[in-house]
């Protein structure tokens, strides 16, 4: 495969499916004419370096493809944060995370209801708005940073014509990884069940004074549900390791579900409570204080994981679109 073919394939992977073939056929013809013209000027065929120089002058494939996108719009806050090239990808990721958030919340609410812990409409709306706001800010921030980076991107002619110019390719999981995932999650599910039934195992000698707060039992069912969904995904990928999109979609969904559980946990003030209400303990305050810190760190880490996994999901989607 020559350089032009590889460049054109890279451009194709960023184009809307309906127009891909028509656009790349014309673009290839124009670039080929430019190369022929240059070769005629020089009186000899072009070297690889000369061909690459012409291709580089056209810009990074993502930028080239972006110019052909229908004008979806841009995001402007004072100055343009996200331009027309990235805007369609930005909207896609936002919609995806929004839909998953809503679906996950519905599942969590149903699970809480059947677990005997119905929640109020106001509480649910507060959580949804909180999550959506955080997701919007984080995703917008990532895309705004990419927008700054985009003009400096150059096409790497040495790499194969995949979507790896900007981010590492989403690879298939091996069967060994799927087996490991199923085993680890199965152990986790059993351990969670065990801990919820007998919290003294987790608390050790402190179980005489402390016990888990009631909020942990509210999230038990959704937590187990997330683990079960992940086990099912691992089992499917064990049979079909090439279903990368399924893996990435489930990962983003479970990430968002985990975030929902953490946000719900943050509503509590006492994650550890006294085993006997008449007792007193000076350590109880600091213990809950550190748990709050830990939960906030977990929330922030999960947001980063959601951003990374959303990108990978987008890449897996683009990858399948480029192959088809």
């Amino acid at each position: 495969m020559d350089l032009l073919d590889r460049y054109i394939k890279a451009v194709k992977s960023y184009l809307p499916k309906a127009q891909q073939d028509d656009i790349i056929r014309e673009l290839a013809a124009n670039i080929q004419a430019q190369m022929d013209d240059r070769a005629t000027e020089l009186g000899r065929p072009l070297t690889d370096a000369e061909q690459e120089a012409i291709l580089q002058s056209h810009g990074h494939p993502m930028l080239v493809a972006g110019r052909y996108q229908t004008a979806w719009g841009t995001l402007v806050f004072g100055r343009q944060l996200i331009g027309a090239t990235l805007f369609p990808f930005y909207v896609k990721v936002l919609w995806f995370t929004l839909e998953l958030s809503l679906i996950t919340h519905v599942i969590v609410i149903v699970a809480l209801f059947f677990g005997g812990n119905p929640t109020t409409f106001g509480g649910v709306m507060t959580e949804i708005v909180f999550q959506i706001t955080i997701q919007f800010v984080v995703i917008t921030g990532i895309f705004a940073a990419m927008e700054q980076y985009l003009p400096t991107m150059t096409w790497n002619a040495q790499r194969p014509p995949t979507l790896t110019q900007a981010f590492p390719k989403v690879r298939q999981s091996t069967r060994l990884e799927s087996v490991a995932q199923i085993i680890v999650l199965a152990i986790l599910a059993v351990w969670l069940r065990f801990i919820f039934d007998r919290p003294e195992v987790l608390l050790g000698p402190a179980a005489a004074t402390y016990r888990l707060g009631p909020i942990w039992y509210d999230v038990a069912l959704p937590t187990v549900l997330i683990v079960v969904v992940s086990i099912m995904q691992g089992a499917i990928n064990l049979i079909r390791p090439d279903w990368v999109q399924l893996r990435q979609t489930v990962r983003v969904a479970t990430d968002i579900g985990s975030l929902g559980i953490m946000v719900y946990l943050l509503r509590a003030t006492g994650w550890i409570v006294l085993a006997h209400p008449t007792d007193t303990s000076t350590a109880l305050g600091p213990i809950n204080h550190y748990i709050a810190y830990g939960l906030w760190i977990a929330v922030l880490s999960t947001l980063v994981i959601i951003a990374v996994d959303s990108w990978r999901w987008l890449r897996s989607w683009q990858g399948s679109s480029a192959q088809s």
């Binding site: 656009i23 056929r25 014309e26 673009l27 013809a29 124009n30 670039i31 080929q32 004419a33 430019q34 022929d36 013209d37 002058s57 056209h58 810009g59 930028l63 080239v64 110019r67 052909y68």
Partner: protein, 117 residues
Amino acid sequence: MDGDIFENLRMELRRGSLIVAVLAALRVERYGYALRKTLADGGLDIEENTLYPLLRRLESQGLLTSLWREENKRNKRFYCLSVEGEVILQQLLGEWRTIDAALARISTTTTASTEHD
């Protein structure tokens, strides 16, 4: 700062002019790269990434027609001004001349009054 302002204004000024130039140049059938060379030879450089999508947009608006044809043993997409495109081009050129004349009058009047003061 002044350079940035000038560059932004220059780009705005060019944007509309380029469309008129493209339509005018396509009174003769041309393919993308040949059109770019024609415009560059005429003193109007335009990036490939701007020109090629612009051609598709003008075609979707009905101002251009296109067909694939072989030239020098290579298939190329040739664009040509449509009947509707010719009408629009005449209107745009008329508007261009009006603006040009108005600018000349305003510029002359302003220069004269500045010298008078």
